[in-house]
Symmetry: C2
Subunit: 159 residues, 2 copies
């Protein structure tokens, strides 16, 4: 929300429909998976290798919310932190497609599927993005979609 | 996924469409908000009171993913951990409606909107739930919807 305080290099005009960005990789350790789950999702398959082996997942795996949070870290570090983002009202069609295991290398891609000016605010534009996270085997593990609001480099009224 | 290892008191048959459950409350401290954001969502308004004051949020507030994770904790502790849950493929219509500030008392309610047998598995049923989190002022701060799979107390074939 305080875009003014950041060094902005990405504005709404830079986020064209049809474009994609590679937002880098993140890899959770067993200790991180267990720490997150102990605080937020204490189900047996998120808490120990034994609990995971006794489940359909076949081994310790990350909470789906941990996976979302790791995706958010990549978004902030490699995209939102350099952008004129004004935040997001939420997400749609969040899908956990495969388990995430310790040591998996998760790569995030943003696909911009729609971009339009915001009728009520000449200085703001909207984009609709799909976020997809893939593991080191090329398998999608998580995807979601959502709108984001971004300040425009040049307000509509000034054009 | 390892429903067999838990003491199950809630089965698919207990999850009637139209019913609601109060899943208790959780309250984040400023330290917890900052710790989560430092790891997963390092935007200024999630990292310090000063960063929050400089934003449209007006003060330090929790990452939306932190709010989801706190809701999950209430789900597991007060519902899923005693249930025959087989997991969820994802969520829909996730909305962050109001900022969550330090000391807010967040209460979670599950509304079951749909319940049906799973055609392909006589021992499993599906429910569709809406999850709503409200703060101490009665304001909704987060909501989402999703399907969950639960084992049946009595498989369809045995009835």
């Amino acid at each position: 929300m305080n875009a003014d305080q950041r060094h902005i290099t990405i504005w709404w005009e830079d986020l064209a429909a049809g474009s994609s960005r590679d937002l880098g990789t993140i890899s959770p350790t067993a200790e991180e998976i267990i720490a997150f789950a102990s605080q937020f999702d204490p189900q047996p398959f998120h808490l120990s290798e034994e609990g995971g082996k006794a489940s359909l997942f076949g081994g310790l795996c990350a909470s789906g919310w941990h996976t979302c949070s790791m995706a958010m870290r990549l978004m902030v570090t490699n995209f939102l932190g350099q952008s004129s983002s004004l935040g997001s009202p939420g997400m749609e069609n969040l899908k956990w497609l495969k388990p995430v295991y310790p040591g998996d290398v998760l790569q995030l891609t943003q696909h911009i599927v729609e971009s339009r000016p915001m009728a009520s605010r000449p200085d703001v534009g909207l984009i609709r993005s799909q976020w997809q996270m893939v593991n080191q085997h090329g398998q999608p593990v998580m995807q979601m979609e959502g709108y984001g609001m971004f300040r425009r480099r040049t307000p509509a009224a000034a054009q």
